[in-house]
């Protein structure tokens, strides 16, 4: 019945959705922020730990939301591992283009873990689900006050 949604709900998404790999809070962290999609009630909180060179050493998150927002957060943790803040921001820009258009002109190998979400662009109302955890991550990188959630775009 749902063959036509297998692009969005592909095997990676379904498997991750059932058993996210990185959904946990960091006991010790350097930065954190919340993301909140007021339109639909998805919520995510992200914690970051930096390495000595300023790169992302560890990321944890807790999310309450749909399959797409949870899996996006889970894949994001892998994608940003070891990246500098500047590279992380560039990665998000490329990822956003991917989920908005399905195309990825500036694709770097770093984007590979996020490819399972590429069909999101066919589901306009779900793009915000995929970008929400990233907006929280960027807010944490920018040191935005954690009590004021980053809003979805």
């Amino acid at each position: 019945m749902f063959d036509d949604v297998r692009d969005l709900y592909n095997q990676t998404i379904l498997t991750r959705g059932r058993a996210p790999q990185h959904m946990h809070r960091l006991a010790a962290f350097d930065a954190s922020a919340k993301g909140d999609n007021p339109m639909c009630g998805d919520r995510v909180e992200v914690w970051l730990k930096y390495a000595e060179d300023g790169a992302i050493a560890e990321t944890g998150y807790l999310a309450r939301g749909c399959e797409i927002s949870v899996v996006s957060a889970d894949l994001m943790v892998e994608a940003v591992q070891g990246q500098s803040p500047a590279d992380t921001k560039a990665l998000f820009t490329a990822f956003r283009t991917l989920v908005q258009t399905g195309e990825c002109p500036d694709c770097t190998p770093a984007l590979a873990p996020l490819q399972p979400l590429s069909a999101v662009h066919k589901y306009a109302s779900r793009v915000k689900c995929a970008t929400l955890p990233w907006l929280a991550l960027l807010a944490a990188l920018d040191g935005v006050n954690p009590s004021k959630p980053a809003s979805s775009e």
Binding site: M1, F2, D4, Y9, R43, G65, C66, Y123, R126
Partner: protein
Amino acid sequence: MTDLARIRADFPILNETVRGKKLVFLDSAASAQKPRPVIDAMVHAMEHQYANIHRGLHWMSERTTDAYEAARDAAAGLLNARDRHEIIFTRNSTEAMNLMAHSFGRGMLKPGQAVVISAMEHHSNIIPWQMLRDAHGIELRVAPITDAGELDMPAFTALLADGKVGLVAITHMSNVLGTYTPAERITQIAHARGAKVMFDGSQAIVHRRIDVQAIDADFYCFTGHKLYGPTGIGVLWGRRELLDAMPPFMGGGDMISSVSYERSTWAEVPHKFEAGTPAIIEGIGLKAAIDYVQAIGYDAIAAHEAALTDHALARLSAIEGITIIGRAQDRGGVVSFTLDRAHAHDIATLLDRQGIAVRAGHHCAEPLMRRLGLDSTARASFGIYTTPDEIDALADTLTKIREFFA
């Protein structure tokens, strides 16, 4: 309803397909579809009978004024208002409740007095009172609900005990739980404590005959687009003596009786509350919608929707993993639910691929969601054109969605 097929034939949009599938529209509580007579009335106005109203001395203006004012009579009839001047046109329910918070809240309530709302309000019946609280020193009290999703009457009564409550502003039917609140008991209890009562009838008016005199309400509001009418037009009904005493809401043309730089005086109700050129074409459309609903009749509507709701509750309850949110005794055609294996958004996306439109999210009722311990629900809601087959399609698809996420 015996002539369900005939009713469906009145709604052109129901013939549409969505991605090659027949549209199954189960989102009428967000906004209802429009029958041919509403569409025709609005097109007719624009093609044959349109000018600004209450201003021109020419034929077109007079005829258009008559058509627009006929909507006021229709709304007065719909609510069984005593006086047609008690009908104020607004943009929607939201504007009606903002008008209330401004003109009744600031005009009639004194700092230190309280407003009571319930724990199952739409944001539009929360935020205006919060703004009033912060600007005008009004206390905001929230009457709790039971786990079944009904107004907790002993707690509600207790909230009014100190006599400080000037207004109860409460939904007549929850857009999330489907619960009707007991309007007559609410007005009895409130009036005994000196409080006035405003009902948010945005949902209730769609499903039930409303008689504002019989329920002894002081104010009642609804929004046209949920009642098969156009967007951009809503109604606030209020008792004449209260409306007369209240200051205006917005200032501008049409709401004055005389203007000078020193001092202006206000027009009589309802015009005092209707500043500027109103939604003329939408008003004409609303009249057509009211006429349409009344021609079908609330007895038939209520019977049809009660049968649909029973059918939906039975079918959805039988699906493993589904939890129905809200188990009120007295309820209307709105059914919220969660599914153990899938989030409401994922459900909505998969249903949409089968042409089935439902709402997913917090339904503009975040505090209620928090009370229920949920972030979101999926919601199916029914209208006069909904068929049992459509509910079966929903139930069958939900069963398959649960398998999909196995």
